[in-house]
């Protein structure tokens, strides 16, 4: 049987399905930001950005940017009705104080303990952490969107992270290009996998044991242009 891995937009689509109506959400810079595009009809999440905006919307048309109105990735944004501004300490009070419902981040590695490594590959170059270490603490659910394996085919879901940690035991769900995996009691619990992919194949691309105590569903997503 053949199978196809999800594109990044499809991973983002799948992650968006897990966000409830009215949820307060922070999306990491880059790939995770795509999740905002795929809110299911009838649901409206409120997006938070670390630099002090709640309730922002899409990017403005090119040429209409106001560079005092940006997100944490320093991209120009717009406001939705009900938005608010606040300073950085209040912004991270929202994060650290458990007021966000969901944070979705990228990953270099996720361990079966829920440890996340996503800020630094090694000890070379200029280190930069931003708000990642804060975001993994406080949000009621912290999820990851990621390719299932690296470009070199190495597993990104591992027994123990070898890259420097972002946070300890902080991730509860991983949306990958091949599967949806929960982290429960220090174990990877497989919830969904792409149609046609066998357990054996998936396990061979995963660096720690995938458990299947409950029902297992097909990870099906629409075609997204």
């Amino acid at each position: 049987m053949t199978w196809e891995k999800l594109t990044n937009t499809q991973i983002a689509w799948r992650a968006a399905q897990g966000i409830e109506d009215g949820a307060y959400v922070n999306l990491g810079i880059g790939f995770p930001e795509m999740v905002a595009r795929y809110q299911p009809p009838g649901r409206e999440a409120i997006f938070h950005t670390e630099n002090g905006v709640l309730g922002f919307g899409d990017a403005p048309p090119e040429g209409e940017e106001d560079w005092d109105l940006i997100n944490a990735g320093k991209k120009a944004i717009t406001l939705k009705p009900g938005a608010s501004f606040f300073h950085h300490a209040d912004s991270f009070a929202m994060v650290r104080g458990g007021h966000l419902d969901v944070a979705i981040l990228g990953a270099l590695q996720v361990a079966e303990s829920g440890d996340l490594a996503n800020w630094r590959v090694g000890s070379k170059g200029v280190p930069a952490v931003g708000g990642a270490m804060d975001l993994v603490h406080g949000a009621k659910r912290v999820a990851v969107v990621t390719e299932h394996v690296t470009r070199d085919g190495e597993p990104k879901l591992v027994e123990r992270c070898t890259f420097p940690l972002t946070g300890v035991a902080c991730i509860s769900r991983v949306y990958t290009s091949l599967a949806v995996v929960d982290i429960e009691d220090g174990q990877f619990v497989l919830r969904e996998k792409v149609p046609g992919l066998s357990m054996e194949e998936l396990q061979s691309m995963t660096g720690a044991t995938l458990h299947t105590p409950g029902p297992l569903a097909d990870l099906t997503v629409p075609e997204i242009p």
């Binding site: 109506d21 409120i46 009900g82 608010s84 606040f86 991270f92 929202m94 603490h137």
Partner: protein, 240 residues
């Protein structure tokens, strides 16, 4: 996203026996009188919620608001900085009779503990109270040659606050000095209910003028002409 609630009675219907309840205001300024009285109505009708721990700067005045809650017998413990007022009988009588507990906290430490509860900071050091009986039993530490007391965050099951304008997202503004503890308590409670003088459409409050962003608020109820505690006390009113 619609956080509006139809009535004060409905707004306070979920508060459970034994809750830690933060109540905004400093004296009468910013005190959510109508929510407090709705809670008393519910207690009189159903016997619940009782056994409450109430966090407020003061401990009630006269025979209305928090004082009326104490009179009604709903309050097991007060956490406050200044349990005195122009007419402190409700608390004083019960306290001297040993029928109510008191945790006395310096005012700035009370504010900072509530803010810490809302900001995910489990403990912090402050110079306030060092060497006094209010720091007895607390860890102390020295930083840069000065001495400090370790204080813990303060959180609540529910906060009831009074604001001026509110919208369906829960964004709030306050009137004059009635801001006081209200924005902090909004942050520190698992559930926050705000009574507002007017509910406006989302977007009507300038995003730069929002004082409490909606993420900190769960329910908003309009009380169009809120009573002012100080005026009620001067008029000799009792909520009995």
């Amino acid at each position: 996203m619609d956080k509006t609630i139809a009535s004060p009675a409905e707004a306070v219907s979920g508060i459970a026996d034994g809750s830690v309840l933060m109540i905004g205001g400093f004296g009468g300024s910013g005190s959510p009188i109508e929510l407090i009285h709705a809670l008393i109505d519910r207690y009189r009708a159903t016997g619940s919620p009782g056994d409450l721990t109430v966090v407020n700067n003061n401990a009630g005045n006269g025979r209305v608001g928090i004082a009326a809650m104490i009179d009604a017998g709903m309050v097991r413990k007060m956490v406050c900085s200044f349990p005195k007022s122009s007419d402190p009988r409700a608390f004083t009588d019960k306290y001297l009779a040993g029928e109510i507990e008191l945790e006395l906290v310096p005012q700035g430490t009370l504010a900072e503990r509530i803010r810490a509860g809302g900001a995910g900071i489990p403990a912090f050091y402050t110079p306030t109270g060092f060497g006094t009986e209010l720091a007895e039993g607390k860890p102390v530490a020295e930083f840069d040659g000065a001495s400090y007391v370790q204080e813990r965050w303060l959180k609540a099951d529910v906060a009831i606050v009074k604001a001026h304008l509110g919208d369906a997202h829960g964004n709030l503004t306050y009137r004059y000095a009635s801001r006081n503890f209200n924005p902090l308590m909004c942050m520190a409670a698992a559930t926050t209910i705000a009574q507002v003088s007017r509910i406006v459409p989302p977007g009507d409050i300038d995003p730069e003028q929002v004082v409490t962003p909606g993420i900190f608020v769960d329910g908003v109820v309009e009380v169009a002409d809120p009573r002012q505690e100080e005026q009620m006390i001067r008029a000799g009113e009792a909520y009995a």
